[in-house]
């Protein structure tokens, strides 16, 4: 809300000693937060001048300039000479003025914000121009011929008068941020009341208006929907002189408040909206046919609003109509064909109170906001309509020469706001401010125009008609605290009962985060949005379930219409960015949620808010949400160990990618089973699936060459992704108990020849479980070549045998070894 400061000062009678900054600071403390102080940058000498002579001088460039002598008052005039009267010589290129006219002269040293520089004397067209005769635009003033010189009304000022004060050129405007619960503050009336309260001044309500000439009908009205339109008032003013201009002070205030000056009638309508907060409309009476109706739109009905948009109406839209059809979208915008024009002499003034939601929904539906809609959405004083119409009518009489036609139509009435009853000490208890006693509470509330009754230890507070925000006891507390001052709240640290610390899952997530960093991975964060293009780059088959995204109604880009189903979309994109920026060796990780649609695409219920939903209802709500597990993903490109003086380094391989998953499993004390699978975006022969109790919880391996190419990544890059929720969920409460024997170890090396298709991991697992004496098994060599038959390979293992309670005998060792060989036999493994 833009509040012209002089208007506010006049309304409240604010002492001059209060600066604009002080005013703004107090209003901010009253929940009317200052965004910005506008204006006040112009500096003089800017004075009124009388043109003494203006000599046209044609120039070579085809222009004609006026060489003027201007009387700018004794203080600023150069003395008279033999040829010239006292005054200053000024060159002016405009021609809409002549000798005798009063103009505004910016003398050297003047700073005009509209121009952005300081005026100085300068040589031009063979003269020294000792100042500038100002145009309307250069002064930053509204209306008139913007490029022409501003000619003041004869006799309205004297040469040498300060034009800044005369024209209000340095008026400041407060741009206030009005919170949505304070609809009343979208008016000078509302801001004025809070200002008076903030400075402890008596407040004279500009809405204290006597409604006159009430006998008879104003203009017939039929309200079909009284719920959407509880109050509708009309009255008529006739005989307006359409040639009358808007008073300069009114136009100035409108412009300062961010509106345009259009015509006297429209300006008065807007002025009253700014002053009282009541949007109102003036129809050209000659263009209305039949009574005004207020009803919902019919299917297929259309309306061209003032902004020249032809709109298809929704049956929920509330319309103002006449016999011919809609003349306005109620509370938002009128139609062009009934607007007043420069011949309008008789008008019908409409002032209504519309239901807040009806206006808000229609404005949202049509993506159309307006000064009126903004006020109706936030709540207009429902007791104001007749008085606002009276104010419009009186101003039309005063400035437009019209007359008020007897009679007023008032349809409907709104009941007073219900009283709020609260414990008298609630404001003190909730604010935590010891100084808030009964007296302070009552005074603060009365300052807010509430009626307050003390009944025992309770306060009965009846809010004024415009305070839609005062419904509950706590709402009342805020009003008290606002007056007492938020800066009065002391600082008291509450003592929480002992908490349980981080949950196990929270702790384990941190552990995983540190493990990933410990594996040399650099954590990144990416936006979780993705689309078909991403999934194509990953090479996901058409029927891959990872293509089934949670889609958004309003995504930021059409390329990313929904949420991602795998962290690899963001991670590989980030990897590409790094490679593009010249980093050859990149190891990235991200922990974050991915989103998976549910098959039945359910809708989340919307419950009431007057009670807690039942557990069953909450379960329904949760079941509707998509599955959104926390994942960890990683990618490694280029060298895992850097080349340098110590050696050639080592490239990251599929084994490194798998090792990350193993490391995460290790830090969580869970067992992952590894199986070979072929799955995008991985190399079909170099991808591991990780299983937890038979369920796949992730994958890792070398990325498919085509995926690497699509992302612009170097060959042989690797990646992996696991479901952390699943891993963490499987983590045991306690890690394994340390269990080791101090008896001597027996080391056996066993080399087997197996079919090339046998998985080393499977054979190793079989050896490890071949007997109770097997302490560990480790693969130390894989060989395929001349020494073994074609289609075969040799796998060599270190097997360590140890007993818990004695030194192994030779017989035991032989037996254990034999058991291992036998276990291997299941894989058709023959001892080499």
């Amino acid at each position: 809300m833009k509040v012209p400061v002089p208007w506010l000062r006049e309304l409240v009678g604010l002492p001059d000693s209060v600066t604009t900054e002080q005013l703004a600071a107090r209003l901010t403390a009253f929940d009317l937060k200052l965004e910005e102080i506008v204006g006040g940058q112009l500096s003089g000498p800017l004075v009124v001048g009388r043109v003494l002579s203006a000599v046209p001088e044609p120039q070579k460039n085809g222009k004609t300039i006026n060489w003027c002598r201007v009387d700018v008052g004794p203080e600023h005039n150069d003395p008279a000479t033999d040829d010239l009267p006292a005054g200053r010589g000024i060159v002016c290129g405009a021609h809409n003025f002549g000798p005798g006219d009063l103009v505004v002269v910016s003398l050297p040293g003047t700073f005009l914000p509209a121009l952005g520089f300081e005026i100085s004397a300068r040589k031009t067209y063979g003269h020294v121009s000792d100042g500038m005769i100002c145009s309307t635009a250069e002064l930053g003033l509204p209306g008139g011929d913007q490029s022409g010189i501003l000619v003041l009304e004869a006799g309205s000022a004297e040469p040498g008068d300060d034009a800044i004060a005369l024209l209000g050129l340095n008026d400041e405007t407060l741009d206030l941020e009005v919170n949505p619960d304070r609809g009343y503050a979208w008016s000078l009336r509302g801001v004025g009341r809070d200002t008076a309260l903030a400075f402890d001044l008596p407040f004279r309500d500009p809405a204290d208006i006597e409604v006159t000439d009430t006998d008879g009908e104003g203009y017939p009205v039929v309200v079909e929907d009284r719920e959407a339109c509880p109050v509708f008032v009309t009255r008529r003013v006739t005989g307006i002189d359409p040639t009358r201009p808007t008073p300069e002070w009114m136009a100035r205030r409108l412009v300062q408040a961010g509106m345009r000056s259009i015509s006297l009638t429209v300006d008065i309508s807007n002025y009253v909206m700014l002053e009282l907060g009541q949007p109102n409309h003036a129809y050209d009476a000659a263009k209305l046919s039949g009574p005004i109706g207020v009803r919902r739109a019919r299917a297929g009905e259309r309306l061209t609003t003032l902004d020249d948009v032809d709109r298809v109406l929704d049956p929920a839209d509330l319309l103002i109509c006449d016999d011919e059809g809609p003349v306005g979208l109620a509370g938002i915008m009128g139609a062009a064909h009934v607007e007043i024009d420069d011949t309008t002499t008789d008008v019908v003034i409409e002032a209504a109170y519309f239901d807040r939601s009806t206006v808000a929904r229609a404005a949202r539906r049509h993506k159309l906001s307006s000064e009126a809609a903004r006020r109706f959405e936030r709540g207009v004083d429902p007791s104001l309509q007749a008085r606002a119409a009276q104010r419009v009518a009186e101003l039309l009489v005063e400035h437009g020469g019209g007359r008020i036609e007897p009679g007023i139509t008032v349809v409907g009435e709104v009941a007073p706001r219900p009283a709020v009853t609260l414990a008298a000490d609630l404001p003190r208890r909730i604010a935590g401010v010891p100084s808030i006693d009964l007296e302070a509470s009552v005074a603060a509330l009365r300052g807010n125009a509430c009626e307050v009754e003390v009944q025992g230890d309770q306060l009965v507070v009846t809010p004024p008609s415009w305070r839609f925000d005062l419904n509950d006891p706590y709402d009342v507390v805020e009003e008290v605290l606002r007056v007492v001052g938020y800066d009065q709240v002391p600082s008291v640290l509450p003592q929480a009962p002992g908490g349980r610390g981080l949950t196990r899952a929270q702790e384990l997530r941190r552990r995983v985060g540190y493990a990933l960093a410990g594996a040399g991975l650099v954590e990144v964060k990416t936006f979780p949005f993705a689309g078909e293009e991403d999934f194509d780059k990953l090479g996901l088959p058409a029927d891959d379930e990872r293509r089934r995204q949670v889609l958004l109604e309003n995504p930021l880009s059409a390329q990313e219409p929904g949420l991602t189903t795998t962290l690899l979309t963001g991670l590989l994109r980030a990897a590409g960015l790094n490679v593009g920026r010249g980093h050859e060796d990149v190891a990235l990780t991200e922990m974050g949620r991915v989103f998976r649609t549910r098959d039945d695409s359910p809708h989340a219920p919307i419950y009431g808010v007057d009670r807690r939903p039942t557990d069953d209802e909450l379960a329904v709500l949760d079941a509707a949400l998509p599955d959104q597990p926390l994942m960890a993903a990683w990618t490694m490109l280029g060298q895992r160990e850097k080349r340098g003086w110590s050696g050639p380094g080592r490239d990251a391989t599929w084994a490194d990618a798998i090792a990350v998953a193993k490391r995460l499993a290790d830090v969580l004390h869970v067992e992952l089973t590894v199986e070979a699978v072929a799955l995008a975006p991985f190399h079909p022969g170099r991808c591991a699936a990780f299983l937890l109790d038979g369920t796949v919880v992730g994958h890792a391996g070398e990325l498919h060459p085509k995926v690497l190419e699509a992302y612009g990544l170097p060959a042989r890059g690797v990646a992996g992704e696991v479901n952390l929720d699943a891993l963490i969920g499987a983590a045991p409460e306690l890690g394994p108990r340390p269990d080791f024997s101090s008896f001597p170890v027996a080391k056996e090396d066993l080399a087997f020849v197996v079919d090339a298709s046998v998985h080393a991991g499977d054979l190793q697992a079989a050896l490890a479980s071949s007997g109770p004496l097997v302490e560990s098994v480790r693969l130390f060599d894989i060989y395929a070549g001349d020494q073994v038959p074609a289609g075969k390979k040799s796998l060599a293992f270190n097997v360590r045998l140890r007993a818990a309670d004695h030194t192994l005998t030779d017989a035991e060792i032989t037996e254990a070894r034999a058991a291992a060989v036998e276990a291997a036999a299941r894989f058709d493994a023959t001892l080499r």
């Binding site: 937060k33 706590y474 040399g520 990144v524 964060k525 936006f527």
Partner: protein, 367 residues
């Protein structure tokens, strides 16, 4: 060896003469002193201590002496041999020590060569700050709560007193899940986590919820569609705005250092009443009159905007099953991304999201 001979004159057995033993000893000592390597000492040992050395040979002659002569001569030779052995041991230790030092000296390397062959990981500062803030709350006896990111409209809005037509709803720039009738959103704040907590347990409740939230802002230098915030909620008997202020002051000090106080400005949030914006005393200039005018962090204000807060609206308590007659509470929330960008002077918010390793790496594994 010859039999004892009473006529034997020891003086006549040349190697056992006193001056001869002395000469052999001195020769040995001289050789020991002259040896300057383990190798040389080995030879000295063979020459002067070994079985074929003069002193060893002399020692062997003692048995041939008559008994009355053996003691004196034995003593003489024994002393000589003792002196030689001692000198040899000492010299050996000396030479070995020198040789050991020399070997270590020869093994010296250039320790200034790069040693970063192993990759070094790092954690994103937004992760670290969430952990840090969580720790502050845990130290206060609070707990850390969490919830889904795709959230039911009812929990993101309605339950928080943001009815369908509430003007504040449109200000939230919400991502809606398609179709709109699904009534799901990307949570615009972590407040639904507060609601979820109240829905599942009874007071006293002291929880903080750090997390990722979403608004439909096109990414640019100062906006991102995804950002992080931490919200706090306390519900107990007798809680007031003063307890809110105390908690925020404590949090401000814990994050920004001693002396960082807060101030309230009235504001409006549907889920709190009364509501306030909380400002932080500028942690760069501390509103010091000598510095504040030129301070880039607070732009001369002396205070920086921190977040929103207030007393939990009883309507929210009712929707979440908490008795507003018995309990009251407060809630607050603040962005964490700005904490990082302002403290580390990061001009472009996109740096947090691009994934360039040079952004994360300097943070290491902690702030």
């Amino acid at each position: 060896m010859s039999a004892p001979n009473s006529d034997y004159d020891p003086v006549e057995v040349t190697p056992l003469r006193a001056d001869e033993v002395e000469r052999m000893r001195d020769a040995a000592l001289e050789a020991i002193a002259a040896a300057d390597s383990v190798e040389a000492l080995k030879q000295v040992k063979i020459d002067h201590v070994g079985d074929r050395s003069p002193l060893a040979l002399a020692n062997r002659e003692i048995g041939a002496l008559p008994p009355q002569a053996r003691k004196e001569v034995g003593q003489r030779v024994g002393q000589a041999r003792g002196a030689v052995n001692k000198a040899l041991a000492e010299r050996t230790a000396q030479v070995e020590a020198v040789e050991f030092e020399r070997r270590l000296a020869e093994e010296a390397v250039d320790v200034t060569v790069p040693v970063d062959m192993e990759p070094v990981g790092a954690r994103h500062p937004l992760t670290t700050i969430q952990d840090h803030v969580a720790d502050i709350f845990v130290a206060m006896g609070w707990e850390i709560a969490e919830g889904p990111e795709v959230e039911a409209e009812w929990l993101n809005f309605d339950a928080l007193n943001l009815g369908p037509d509430h003007p504040a709803r449109t200000m939230m720039d919400t991502f809606w899940v398609a179709p709109a009738e699904a009534a799901m959103v990307l949570r615009t704040h972590t407040s639904p986590v507060q609601a979820r907590t109240m829905l599942t347990r009874q007071p006293p409740i002291y929880i903080a919820c750090p997390g990722r939230v979403f608004r439909t802002d096109e990414p640019d230098a100062t906006h991102a569609p995804v950002f992080h915030q931490v919200e706090g909620l306390a519900i107990d008997e007798g809680l007031s705005m003063a307890h809110l202020k105390g908690t925020l002051d404590h949090l401000a000090t814990a994050i920004y250092g001693e002396g960082t106080t807060t101030r309230f400005r009235p504001s409006y949030f549907p889920f709190t009443e009364p509501s306030a914006e909380v400002d932080l005393l500028c942690y760069v200039c501390h509103n010091d009159p000598a510095q504040v005018a030129d301070c880039p962090t607070c732009r001369g204000e002396g205070w920086v905007e921190w977040g929103g807060c207030g007393v939990v609206n009883p309507r929210v308590l009712i929707a979440c099953g908490v008795d507003p007659e018995r309990y009251s509470g407060f809630a607050f929330g603040m962005g964490l991304d700005r904490t990082i960008t302002s403290r580390y002077d990061i001009a472009d918010l996109r740096d947090l999201w691009d994934g360039d390793i040079r952004f994360t790496e300097p943070f290491g594994i902690g702030l």
